[in-house]
Amino acid sequence: MVSLLCLLAIQESPAAPVAIEQRLARELQLRIGDTVRVRAEPGSPGLLMVVGAIYEPRSDPATVLRNEFHARFHLPDLADLLGAPDRIDRAGVSLRIGIDPDSAARRLDRLAVGFRVRPSAEIATESSRTFLVVSRFHRAIGVISIVASAIFLLCIMLLKVEERRLDAAVMRMIGIRRRTVFSALLLEACLVALIGAALGIGLASASTAVINAYYGHRFETDLRFSLLTPGIILFGAGLSLLLGVLAGGLAAARLVRTRPLVLWRRA
């Protein structure tokens, strides 16, 4: 496979067609019907080709950062250009319906040496290993962020509940039961956690939009770099509510266990 070919716009007799991607056409100001000289390396005579099609390639996260230009040729033309007749990098095989790809691949693999036959699913797994690594990294960062948020939330809830020492002391002194005081404080913690979660979702939506707009523009792609799915929203909101209730509950339990007079004195 050749990563870069030299395309020079010239006016000579038309020849074999080449399809070029939109970005490359923009860069070289080429239009359908233009004749170009395509070289496998500088200085070589190359081939005269005519721009037969301009296409928008499918966005591929694996290549987006490489910022390469792509062109497509008929196989014999490319083989001529590279001086490698009858050689290919890979070939695809479409099986009849009902044929098991794994067993077909095993049978084909035994036919001859010099090539390896793999089912598409195996290739997909292999080529997505990079993204699995990134995904694992994101999960690890996510866990660290969750630990940080949990501690932060616990601390804030503790402070928030401790601020209510005087109220709690008064409530207990006028005969309101511990359970009622606890429930009131817990409810307050829930409310704070809910408001925080709603704000967090709003912030996440805004940052997702900014990230996608920025990277989409930068790499000229319609790929989405940040996804905020309903599942993620539910997970985030559920986790913050759970952590909020847990932290608020712990702080409230600590407060209602303290004697009202002690609370009064501390307040």
């Binding site: 390396e41 501690i151 601390c155």
Partner: protein
């Protein structure tokens, strides 16, 4: 002052412990992100310079070994380069697929044809190196030695190319293992072997004087860019990459990680500031009466400010100390994840624990601690003495 601040903090052990833990996690994340931001580049640069070769010449428009493209006139170009008194070594490298027989199948090997007099790809672990023009020798990586059981001095069979029509190897050669080497740019577990460049050309039937890359070692580092520029003028049909060019290209490809580290680092600093500010604000609110009393008996505003700032600094310092240790542990874990990228050279690290990075993270957190304490300190200093005391009394 510090003792007083420490005593004040021990009044609320649970909340302050939680705050220190929160700051510690933020500090750990910040340190990791500082290491991630600069570590990749430094590690990549260190790897490129591990044998002192500062320039790589590749086919036009490509990075070394990024594609299967090769450059023409390689050996003659490397010979011309060697004649330049500013260049101490230059060597062409040609990559190709080789195989070792393994039972009834073939073990694929990454083959590199090198000019031993100017190679910057490996370091000899044991045995001897290839000689210039060696047509019977091979050097193998540790992973090849482990898989095949080959040792120095063994005569081994190397298969080059296979013929699908005839269902057999297209050519085969018996070579003597000269030594076991450490490949500087190989991925983890990559099975790489090296032979002399002419032998590689003969085996792979590579047409003409072609190579995948030429490595150049310049005598004086300050002349690297000038030499690179001269090579560009001398051979306009090739891509001349100095280490700085390669690092810049690498940086572009890893933009994502640099930006992620910037965003997460900023968030962790922000979280740290928020935590310290919240805690100190509440603490100051609770102690307004005490602060007003201190002011009433003659303690200056700046004295109050210093006390609140000292509390903030103590919290940040304690969090920092735990956080930096935690950061080193998590960096090791995160590095383990990222270095499992397929095909990544084993010598590259994403998180490089360097004293400068640790110092930068610690300084950023200390400054953040100071900023975090500023608002509560200002509030404490501005508290009206009479009104506060009256309020406290009622």
């Amino acid at each position: 002052m510090i003792l007083l601040a420490a005593r004040n903090l021990t009044r609320h052990p649970l909340r302050n412990l939680l705050a220190v833990l929160g700051i510690a996690v933020a500090a750990a994340l910040l340190l990791d992100m500082v290491m991630l931001a600069g570590g990749m580049e430094r590690s990549f640069q260190r790897m490129l310079l591990s044998r002192g070769y500062q320039i790589r010449i590749a086919p036009k428009g490509t990075l070394p070994f990024d594609t299967e493209a090769t450059l023409a006139g390689a050996a003659s170009l490397s010979a011309r380069l060697r004649a330049d008194p500013r260049i101490s070594a230059a060597g062409a490298v040609l990559g190709g697929a080789l195989f070792a027989p393994a039972g009834d199948s073939l073990l694929p090997l990454a083959g590199l044809g090198v000019e031993p007099e100017g190679q910057g790809l490996y370091e000899l672990d044991s045995g001897t190196d290839l000689g210039p023009g060696d047509t019977t020798g091979i050097v193998i990586g540790v992973s090849v030695a482990q898989v095949t059981g080959w040792r120095t001095g063994d005569t081994v069979r190397i298969i080059v190319g296979t013929d699908p029509q005839m269902a057999r190897a297209s050519s085969e050669r018996r070579l003597v293992v000269r030594g076991v080497v450490h490949w500087l740019y190989a991925a983890r577990g990559q099975r790489t072997v090296g032979i002399a460049l002419p032998l590689m050309r003969a085996l792979t039937r590579a047409a003409g004087d072609r190579a995948s890359m030429i490595m150049v070692k310049v005598v004086r580092d300050e002349e690297v860019e000038a030499v690179a520029s001269d090579i560009r003028s001398m051979a306009p049909g090739v891509e001349v990459n100095s280490v700085s060019t390669l690092v810049a290209r690498f940086r572009t490809r890893l933009t994502y990680f640099r930006q992620l580290s910037l965003i997460l680092g900023t968030i962790s600093l922000f979280v740290g500031i928020l935590l310290v500010t919240t805690l100190l604000t509440i603490t100051v609110s609770e102690r307004l009466g005490e602060i007003a009393t201190l002011r009433a008996i003659g303690v200056s505003r700046s004295g109050i400010v210093r006390r609140v700032l000292a509390e903030g600094a103590l919290l940040t310092l304690a969090g920092n100390a735990i956080g930096l240790l935690l950061g080193l542990v998590t960096a090791r874990y995160l590095d383990g994840i990222l270095t499992s990228f397929p095909g990544l050279p084993a010598a590259i690290s994403f998180f490089v624990p360097e004293p400068a990075a640790v110092a930068r993270a610690a300084a950023a957190l200390l400054v953040a601690g100071g900023i975090a304490g500023a608002w509560p300190a200002w509030r404490a200093a501005r508290a009206p003495i009479a009104a506060t005391l009256r309020e406290e009394a009622t």
